[in-house]
């Protein structure tokens, strides 16, 4: 009995600590949400209080911010680039990983290690040469971005798919071949369905990376075109004008975070599982 009473107090104490950590985690998000509804002149004076009748600005900051930055179109381009890059990555890297695993020759081995090697190379190593290459071959547009993401994301994706394909027994495929499937039918009807859990992991890891990626779109697409993505727009809003409109900044930060929070709350289980699987294998 004494033991359980002691456990009870420890658990209550832990519960309080966890609540405090929760406040620490959520407060910055509340902070920008709260200030996004205040007039821009009141934010620096009194950043921690709730909006009052005097400071409340309604949706003015949101309207101003959207007009000034074109964030809505950036959200659209971010969606476009993220979704199509992930589709390309899933489709082509699973096929490549399958080929490299099933055809055992010196050059397929070498290529596989090249993909693995690319995972450890930091972006700074290739950023200058890659963006000038992209310039030369007219890849400075959303479609070009998807191709670059296919290439730069291929390392991790091939690695993860290949790791799984190695454990798939070859017998089922041979049975399908005897039944008259060609390798392409064989891959899409027999192998790909088995790969689904890995495909979900690969899709989530790449989607999170591409959605949040800043430097690649900033260097390749740049700031003077209409194809800007969310991080690029946020950076411009802060970086460009010395006389900052803090209200608009708060509102745009809120709008940038909302899609991620919705995505997280709807696919939470897959996201957490995917990220753990990626961490353990990568």
């Amino acid at each position: 009995m004494i033991q359980s009473k002691k456990t009870k107090t420890t658990n209550a104490l832990i519960f309080i600590i966890l609540c405090l950590v929760g406040v620490f985690v959520l407060y910055p998000l509340f902070f920008i949400l709260n200030n996004s509804f205040k007039g821009k002149l009141f934010i620096s004076k009194d950043p921690f209080s709730l909006p009052t009748a005097e400071t409340f600005a309604g949706l003015t900051n949101y309207v101003n911010g959207l007009i000034k930055t074109g964030l809505l179109s950036a959200i659209g381009w971010s969606f476009f680039i993220t979704i199509f890059s992930v589709i390309l990555l899933i489709l082509f890297t699973s096929m490549t990983a399958y080929y490299l695993t099933r055809v055992k020759e010196k050059w397929t081995q070498a290529l596989y290690y090249m993909f693995v090697f690319s995972m450890i190379v930091p972006f700074q190593m290739v950023m200058f040469t890659m963006s000038s290459l992209a310039d030369k071959f007219h890849l400075k547009n959303p479609v070009g971005m998807c191709i670059l993401y296919l290439g730069f994301g291929a390392g991790l994706s091939v690695f993860m798919f290949a790791g799984f394909i190695k454990s798939v027994p070859i017998d089922i495929e041979e049975a399908a071949m005897i039944d008259g499937c060609n390798p392409l039918q064989n891959f899409f009807k027999v192998v790909f369905p088995i790969l689904k859990p890995t495909a979900i992991t690969v899709a989530i890891l790449n989607a999170m990376w591409i959605w949040n990626d800043f430097l690649l779109p900033y260097l390749v697409i740049g700031i003077s075109t209409k194809y800007k993505t969310i991080p690029v727009v946020v950076q411009m809003l802060v970086g460009s004008n010395g006389n900052k409109d803090m209200g608009a900044l708060m509102a745009m930060l809120v709008l940038s975070i909302i899609p991620i929070v919705i995505f997280y709350l709807t696919c939470q289980k897959y996201i957490i599982e995917g990220v753990v699987a990626g961490a353990v294998k990568g």
């Binding site: 985690v25 902070f31 290529l111 891959f187 959605w211």
Partner: protein, 281 residues
């Protein structure tokens, strides 16, 4: 079967290979070559040997200072993130009410991109410092600890998830046996739980290590190196060398190669460390 597949070589591998060549292979080889050249665009390179590498350390753009700042930041963030993450994971494996909700909330910051959360925290920290009539860019101390807090805020939830998975894999009879033998909960932690999650600890250490060392977006957004590049990390230093001053592209590329070598050494250390663990088990 292998023969039939080989005929489909083009469909299976060529799309990925073309993209891979454009995004990685060609830029990587060009980058290596250009680090030995003086250039302003890829087209007008002139061979200068190891000159760029010498300049990287001597031209006074703070490469060594950035290296020192990055190393100090990495050490402190690796230690704090892992301690907090492990402590929270322990608290969340006691079957307390609301465990799932806490887990969901704590993990969330990990999904927000570096630029967006960098500016969010810049606003927060400045709002606090404003009460003392100062800002985050007025003293390198603020930038340093601000970056540490930000990194903890973002990564603790992620590492916590990995530690929870590790802790849940410990067989319960092992912990019960320790209890029956009269071990206190502290002894159980030190003698049973920590040794049993050593592989999770390795993963988390290296993940936080490489993420902290390669940090760019958060650094750019929070302070952009201010004041006077005192809070500039390596990745940002390389970026500024490339795009800040014409004529220094070669030096930037040489710095990038050095950066790549350090990151590769960390990755190889991780690999050999994990391998040796696997042999032991």
């Amino acid at each position: 079967m292998e023969k039939a597949l080989k005929k489909y070589f083009v469909i299976f591998t060529v799309p990925t290979l073309i993209a891979f060549a454009f995004a990685f292979i060609i830029p990587f080889i060009q980058g290596l070559y250009l680090s030995f050249c003086e250039f302003t665009t890829v087209g007008n390179a002139k061979w200068v040997g190891f000159e760029n590498y010498k300049l990287a350390f001597t031209e006074g753009q703070g490469f060594t200072r950035a290296l020192g700042f990055t190393a100090a930041f990495t050490v402190i963030s690796v230690i704090t993130i892992n301690i907090f993450a492990f402590a929270i994971a322990l608290m969340l494996t006691r079957k307390i009410k609301g465990t799932n909700l806490f887990r969901t909330v704590f993990f969330m910051p990990n999904l927000i991109g570096g630029i967006v959360l960098g500016y969010t925290w810049q606003q927060m920290i400045n709002a606090i410092l404003y009460q003392f009539e100062t800002t985050i860019v007025s003293d390198a101390k603020y930038g340093f600890w601000g970056l540490i807090i930000l990194m903890n805020w973002q990564m603790v939830g992620y590492m916590m998830i990995i530690y929870i998975a590790g802790l849940q894999n410990i067989p319960t009879d092992l912990i019960e046996a320790a209890k029956i033998d009269g071990a206190t909960s502290w002894q159980t932690l030190i003698k049973v739980k920590i040794p049993m999650v050593m592989s999770s600890i390795t993963i988390c250490m290296f993940l936080t290590l490489s993420n902290s060392f390669k940090l760019f977006d958060q650094n750019k957004a929070l302070t952009n190196g201010a004041p006077r590049n005192k809070t500039q990390m390596l990745a940002l230093n390389i970026y500024d060398t490339f795009y800040g001053k014409t004529g220094y592209e070669g030096v930037g590329q040489a710095k990038a190669v050095i950066f790549f070598i350090i990151v590769a050494v960390i990755a190889l250390a991780q690999l050999s460390f994990t391998r040796s663990k696997e042999v032991e088990q």
